[in-house]
């Protein structure tokens, strides 16, 4: 048994090291954002909010933040709607070409973003929709709808299929049943999907960079600053973006987990 204990300790340390590797860049970026040195090293320089002051005074950053906000909000609404439609179709119906139908929505995330970026850029230029904020919204909806679909589909899995049939038997039309049975049941998953897709959209840079033209989003600003030189403003913007994304993800988790617990209890 002693050997077993030792092994557990070793494995525990190993897992801790993996987590250290995964979180090191996130934590260091936050530390650097409050560090006075332009080129941070050990020992650290003095505490400073210089970089935050700098980004807050930059109108480009504010404009990009507004763009990001618009893009992620609209993306979340469209992607969640599309995801809900697909999840419900998959849950309720069996039809010919269901495989290709599902592939149509689930495939985009398996294609590298740089390829999607090129394809979207070329296509939007062709049909005269490139370089606008709505180009980014459309592209992001395609990329994030599968996540919404997955979250909502998982929720529908927990629903008793007889519930819908019962509502019909009691005289509800399909539309009424949708409004007063299915959608209320899916509400936590819908909320969860909204936050999740918003978070993914908020961080995406490759496609945004290609199709946004002059309407830059925050990640595109980060990309451009990084291309120039070492500039700790990136850490400050990054910390902001991180806090916003994390808030969205935690909200998504809270909505999804709380209702799951409730439905297990009841």
């Amino acid at each position: 048994m002693n050997a077993n204990r030792t092994l557990n300790v070793i494995l525990g340390i190993y897992v801790a090291l993996i987590f250290a590797f995964v979180f090191a860049p996130i934590i260091f970026s936050m530390i650097f954002s409050f560090n006075s040195q332009r080129f941070p090293t050990i020992p650290l320089g003095e505490f400073s909010t210089e970089w935050y002051a700098k980004i807050l005074a930059d109108p480009d950053v504010w404009e990009a933040a507004l763009n990001s906000l618009i893009v992620s909000t609209c993306t979340a609404l469209i992607a969640t709607f599309l995801g809900f439609c697909t999840a419900y179709s998959d849950f309720r119906y069996n039809f010919r070409f269901k495989g290709p139908y599902l592939a149509l929505i689930l495939l985009p995330p398996t294609i590298p973003l740089i390829i999607m970026a090129l394809a979207m850029l070329a296509w939007f230029s062709k049909i005269g929709m490139s370089g606008q904020l709505y180009s980014v919204i459309i592209a992001h909806s395609v990329l994030t709808a599968p996540f919404a679909m997955a979250v909502i589909r998982l929720r529908l899995n927990q629903m008793d299929p007889d519930l819908e049939a019962a509502a019909w038997n009691l005289g509800g039309s399909e539309w009424q049943t949708m409004r007063s049975v299915i959608i209320p049941f899916c509400k936590p998953a819908i909320a969860s999907a909204l936050f999740l897709t918003a978070a993914v959209s908020f961080d995406e840079f490759a496609v945004s960079w290609f199709v946004s033209g002059l309407n830059k989003t925050l990640p595109v600003i980060i990309l451009e600053i990084v291309q120039g030189n070492i500039d700790p403003q990136v850490n400050a913007i990054g910390t902001f973006v991180f806090l916003i994304s994390m808030t969205l993800v935690v909200l998504a988790q809270v909505f999804f987990a709380s209702r799951q617990l409730k439905s297990i209890r009841s």
């Binding site: 590797f21 941070p40 090293t41 119906y93 139908y101 294609i111 961080d203 980060i222 990054g238």
Partner: protein, 287 residues
């Protein structure tokens, strides 16, 4: 589909089925097909004209630098996949078999966090940490080692790839192994199977499908990433994504970028296809 309308296909059903079909055809299938068509277009005086010529294909396929870049990208993505799978395995093993349910759930929740932090910022952070006078070299220097050059090397690129892929690979491996039947593992141990043999002959075969899917995702992510090889690898040997970037952003040569993109997609299809075939192949002797 419309020639044989099933009885159930009414307005209600169509409302839920059609939006996504139209949307994905216009904004997903459209772009991808157009990119394929574009690879046959011509560029004259910096303007793209619609045509059906093989000149982009023959130009790219006959260029040494394309194939150098191609094989380098395949190689470095494969190395990344092997590294991620091997580095993740002990951690996933520990989380799947040695950790309590709640610990495992927390670990997975924590590992999801990186997906929602800017990959760019994390890469930039590594850039600063790994540089000649960065944190790692300062720490190594204090015990009399280094400084080591880590940026602009394959090592730098791999650190970037691991940042991108390791959380996902650990999650997928953990979930796969946590779901296998624990009694089979115990039976092997009780029958005197050594720990390593249990892992090799019981655990790995039982979780084969999940492990292969983790490897496929890892390969796709590394193969398609331009950030790590560009910022941490210094793009001395440009990978295919960097080639697409350069051709599109600076040269206006969209058709040639499309050729590279199609070659990448074909490669990924082939790898995913082989992987999935292996993942679902029945073991020898099974009915």
């Amino acid at each position: 589909m419309f020639s044989k309308l099933s009885r159930k296909l009414n307005l209600f059903a169509l409302t839920w089925r059609l939006p996504i079909i139209i949307w994905q055809f216009v904004f997903f299938v459209g772009p991808v097909l157009f990119m394929v068509a574009m690879s046959f277009f011509l560029v004259k005086n910096y303007r793209m004209t619609e045509a059906f010529e093989f000149v982009n294909w023959s130009k790219m396929m006959n260029r040494g630098y394309f194939w150098d870049s191609y094989w380098y990208t395949v190689f470095i993505a494969a190395v990344s996949t092997v590294c991620a799978m091997c580095i993740a395995f002990p951690a996933a093993f520990a989380l799947a078999f040695r950790a309590s349910d709640s610990t495992r759930r927390w670990a997975i929740f924590l590992l999801i966090i990186p997906f929602f932090t800017s990959y760019l910022v994390r890469t930039f952070s590594w850039f600063v940490i790994l540089s000649e006078s960065g944190v790692v070299n300062a720490m190594l220097g204090s015990i009399g080692l280094g400084p080591f050059t880590m940026l602009n090397t394959n090592f730098g690129t791999l650190v970037g790839y691991m940042t991108l892929t390791l959380p996902l690979v650990v999650i997928l491996q953990t979930v796969t192994m946590a779901n296998i039947d624990k009694t089979l593992v115990e039976a092997a141990r009780n029958l005197g199977c050594s720990a390593f043999r249990t892992i090799w002959q019981v655990i790995i075969p039982l979780s084969k499908t999940g492990l292969i899917i983790a490897a496929i995702f890892c390969f796709i992510l590394s193969f398609g990433d331009f950030v790590a090889p560009f910022y941490l690898g210094g793009s001395q040997e440009p990978t295919l994504p960097i080639l697409i970037l350069d051709t599109t952003k600076s040269g206006q040569q969209w058709p040639r970028a499309a050729v590279v993109a199609i070659m990448m997609m074909l490669t990924l299809f082939a790898i995913a296809f082989i992987g999935i075939a292996l993942a679902y192949r029945k073991p020898k002797g099974a009915k």
